[in-house]
């Protein structure tokens, strides 16, 4: 059975669920526990990547540099990763991140827009870091389109390309079809990143490795945008049971989850609006922003999410939540204050 690499993103995707309010000290504690458990890569950044701290996505409690340095100082064997979305973060932010200890860049674009990542992948290679290409919202297009865009990333120097189910909208048969096709056309390893909006994160991740993916994402307790991600400690148990080789200690990754638990702001469950994220195919990090807009404009958050899905809004367009809520409120003739 193949060896599976796990990249833990509790300290990046988990930031969404924390409204980006982890403190650097908390990150250092969680990072040390993940390192101890044998995680290969630990991703640390604002939920929306380098320079994500903003009105649009929420201001973080500290700078990316502070977070990265705090975690870098605790690591003995794991590699430190940072996410960047070209259009939000820049090459300058990447240079700062490398100085803070980053060894892996995960460079994310919408699944049809891979060509905006060429400059950033080139810089990451030049700086000697590992490069992971992240094709977000992979549920929106067919396997051929994903393959075309993944090949672009491969040509820019990506060492791994991920199928990213940002909206938690994929079902296992779809994951299998897309991942196995991608494995058949790429020279580099294929990765998979799940969200649990339809309760399928662990199942989809297993479907992905069965289809040939060898790098997968998880977060402790599933902490992440929407209904959260694949729960790392559950994934380790399930992969081991399925016979895959995983260089991680099951007890120690469970202990890491215990370290995280008291820091969580809300239980990571599949609430009603999260189901709609998966059902309508909406970017998972829209969830908490939608709750705020729904409260402000006195709307049902599910209506806002369905409309965002209808308009085919992509990752990063959190301002459309306001646009849609404002328009719905005007139609209902509700005074806004």
């Amino acid at each position: 059975m193949p060896h599976i690499r796990i990249m833990d993103t509790t300290l990046r995707d988990g930031m969404h669920a924390m409204a980006h309010q982890f403190t650097p000290e908390q990150m250092a504690q969680v990072g040390a526990a993940l390192d101890e458990a044998g995680v290969d890569v630990i991703e640390v950044t604002h939920g929306d990547g380098l320079a994500g701290s903003s009105f649009q996505y929420g201001f973080a409690a500290a700078t990316d540099e502070e977070y990265l340095k705090a975690v870098a100082a605790t690591l003995k064997r794991a590699k430190l990763a940072a996410l960047i979305l070209p259009g939000i973060g820049t090459c300058e932010d990447m240079r700062t991140a490398v100085k803070a200890g980053v060894k892996v860049f995960r460079i994310a674009t919408h699944v049809t827009e891979a060509d905006v990542s060429e400059e950033h992948m080139g810089l990451a290679k030049e700086m000697g870091t590992e490069v992971v290409g992240f094709l977000m919202m992979s549920h929106t297009v067919g396997k051929e389109k994903i393959a075309e865009q993944a090949k672009l990333m491969e040509s820019y120097g990506a060492d791994v390309v991920y199928v990213v189910d940002s909206a938690g909208a994929m079902i296992p048969s779809e994951v299998k079809e897309k991942v196995s096709y991608l494995c058949s056309v790429l020279k580099v390893p294929v990765g998979f990143h799940a969200h649990n909006n339809l309760g399928l994160a662990v199942g989809n991740t297993l479907a992905a490795v069965d289809a040939g993916a060898t790098v997968v994402d998880g977060t402790l307790r599933g902490l992440g945008a929407g209904a959260g991600n694949t729960c790392t400690e559950v994934l380790v148990a399930a992969l081991k049971k399925a016979g895959y080789k995983v260089d991680m200690d099951l007890y120690k990754i469970m202990d890491a989850a215990t370290t995280l638990e008291p820091m969580m702001r809300r239980p990571q469950v599949i609430d009603n609006s999260s189901i709609i994220l998966g059902y309508a195919g909406v970017y998972s990090s829209f969830l908490l922003h939608t709750y705020r807009a729904a409260e402000k404009f006195r709307l049902d958050p599910r209506d806002i999410l369905l409309e965002l899905g209808r308009r085919k809004i992509v990752g990063g367009q959190e301002d459309y939540i306001l646009d849609v809520a404002y328009e719905m409120a005007q139609k209902k003739n509700i005074m806004v204050g």
């Binding site: 320079a51 903003s54 009105f55 649009q56 070209p86 259009g87 939000i88 820049t90 090459c91 300058e92 919408h110 049809t112 827009e113 060509d115 905006v116 060429e118 400059e119 308009r311 085919k312 809004i313 992509v314 990063g316 367009q317 301002d319 459309y320 306001l322 646009d323 404002y326 806004v336």
Partner: protein
Amino acid sequence: MEKVKAAIVGPGNIGTDLMYKLLRSKYIEAAMMVGIYPESEGLARAKSLGIKASHEGINAVLQEPDIKIVFDSTGAKPHLKHAPLLREAGKIAIDLTPAAVGPYVVPAVNVDEHLEAINVNMVTCGGQATVPIVAAINRVAGVQYAEIIASLASKSAGPGTRQNIDEFTETTSRALEIVGGAKKGKAIIILNPADPPIMMHNTIYTLVKNPDEELIRSAVHDIVRRIQEYVPGYHLRVEPFVEGNKVTTIIEVTGAGDFLPTYAGNLDIMTSAAVRVGELMAMRLLGVYNRKEVGSCASH
């Protein structure tokens, strides 16, 4: 009436859209279109409209002493070469590339300060769409921080934008500070592939000292009217609203559809702003520029 002769360098989508806009101008004559490929569709189109076309690039323009204004819609690297040549030849350059040799100009905000410049830069589409809003809010409320999110239809973002996407965020951020007056600026760009394509959509968040919603709304309405004089498809989607010291405004730009489709409001606002600056400069050269009558020279 006599018109000032202008050339367009770069016969791509932007150059061609510029050409159609200049054909309507009362003050500028689109005298020449130049490129570097003989088989260019843009050059053929210019020729068919009776405009002199050449594939010999900037040299063809330098040989025409009558041409006073040159719109450069090539790229940052070519413009860095063109700028000194044009300056030496005494021709005004209106730079639509990210080269930024000359000062940033946003017509609704600071054009009067730069009408005598020999080279001006048109910032970015996001800058043209959002800097005026920030400047208007800054005047009445004092902007500490301005953050803008520009959403563009994927189809309207060409290879130049895609390969150098940092140029957009960095240039726009700087213009929010230098022209918009924000103490600190931040810009984000998102490409959306939805079909039918989305209109150019910009959200402007500002953190202000004096959050008087009435004053801010009135200032924003005024500036929107001024922008509409040269970009008729520019409109508010969400009125400025205040939460604490944060002001949120959303605007949308529907393109005029001159050459580019209406969803390409991002390109339309660039070409419209460049034509506006060109016309004001032409009026000054013709001796008919009167600051108070600026409103009457709208190119549409």
